[in-house]
Subunit: 199 residues, 2 copies
């Protein structure tokens, strides 16, 4: 006799493959789903499978979309002169939550990481250069993560794009709003001092 019933074990196995869901929580979730009304489970499964099937990459920025172009690239009200370069689609969502940036995005789909054998040809750098040569771009905002790979990617892109006469900026690093200086690490504090501005 295996643990639990077969379909439940199969649910748990599949769920445990998702990030952040261990064996214990996968089993707990499986039992919860077993007890859910059939209609709700159908909706859940359909949202996952139909959703995944409907998704493709925006032909311009590489963000997820259902059409050829994502809603942001297709929006005529966005300023086409600014392109914010981010690592992945998740970061586009994070920036959009700010409701402040009106330009376009470019999703790299990763960051340079020699350790993981990710080179410039493995992320969407060529596509960015193509955009620079076909669109009228005034500013490239490098918004990769403030970690080693993100910084390396930003430095690489800056070196590549600056000679093309386009303004290249990097998002500011510093102490997060609402946080406590006491808990900020040294590197963040150093960056915050370095980036200080006159009031």
């Amino acid at each position: 006799m295996q643990e639990g019933c077969d379909p439940i074990a199969r649910m748990a196995l599949q769920l445990s493959r998702l990030p952040g869901i261990g064996q214990k929580s996968a089993q707990r979730l499986a039992y919860h789903i077993a007890a859910m009304p059939q209609e709700q489970v159908k909706e859940l499964a359909a949202a996952l499978w139909q959703g995944r099937k409907a998704l493709r990459f925006c032909a311009l920025c590489g963000n997820y979309t259902q059409e050829e172009y994502c809603p942001i690239c297709a929006d005529e009200k966005r300023h086409t002169g600014q392109i914010c370069v981010v690592r992945d689609a998740r970061d586009v969502a994070a920036m959009e939550r700010m409701r402040d940036f009106k330009g376009l995005y470019h999703v790299l789909g990763g960051t340079l990481s020699p350790m993981d054998h990710v080179g410039p040809e493995d992320i969407r750098i060529k596509e960015l250069l193509t955009r620079l040569s076909t669109e009228t771009v005034n500013e490239i905002i490098l918004a990769t993560n403030p970690d080693i790979e993100g910084e390396a990617t930003a430095a690489y892109l800056a070196r590549l794009i600056k000679p093309m006469g386009v303004k290249v900026t990097r998002i500011a690093h510093g102490v997060p709003v609402g946080s406590d200086l006491e808990y900020a690490d040294e590197v963040t504090l150093a960056k915050a001092m370095e980036g200080r501005r006159e009031l």
Copy 2:
């Protein structure tokens, strides 16, 4: 412009309805699923929906099963004289993990809880009494949780079943194996003292 792309928002909404998955983790999972190979998402969705559809309740014990009787009730090697009464199917799986108990189970599908308007007629007590009158049962082991509802349910069942001449036992409460006395709460310690045995 809504946060992220529609299918991803729909995935996240559905996932956030599961227990222990907040809005943030739901969105993280949705983006992960968006990046998964289609085939794997199909497997995940199929496991959930096909699994849920295949599940029914065992006609005897109330555990989840695909057939009329669950694998445990259908197993002729199990001792039919002992019935272990548990709150839900999850508890059957926990007991089975022990690989020690060879009797049968009875899943109540809940515990008595006047606060939540759960009375004796709302859980599978009638079915348990039917089993007692049709099967030859020597012992009823009450393995509901050691919380207020579980204890109340065990007490209620004991009062109901004892007059029928069936031996009724309750699983032991005490300090969990491998734990530290220092961290055990007073009630558990009191139960451990109360249930002490001569060596």
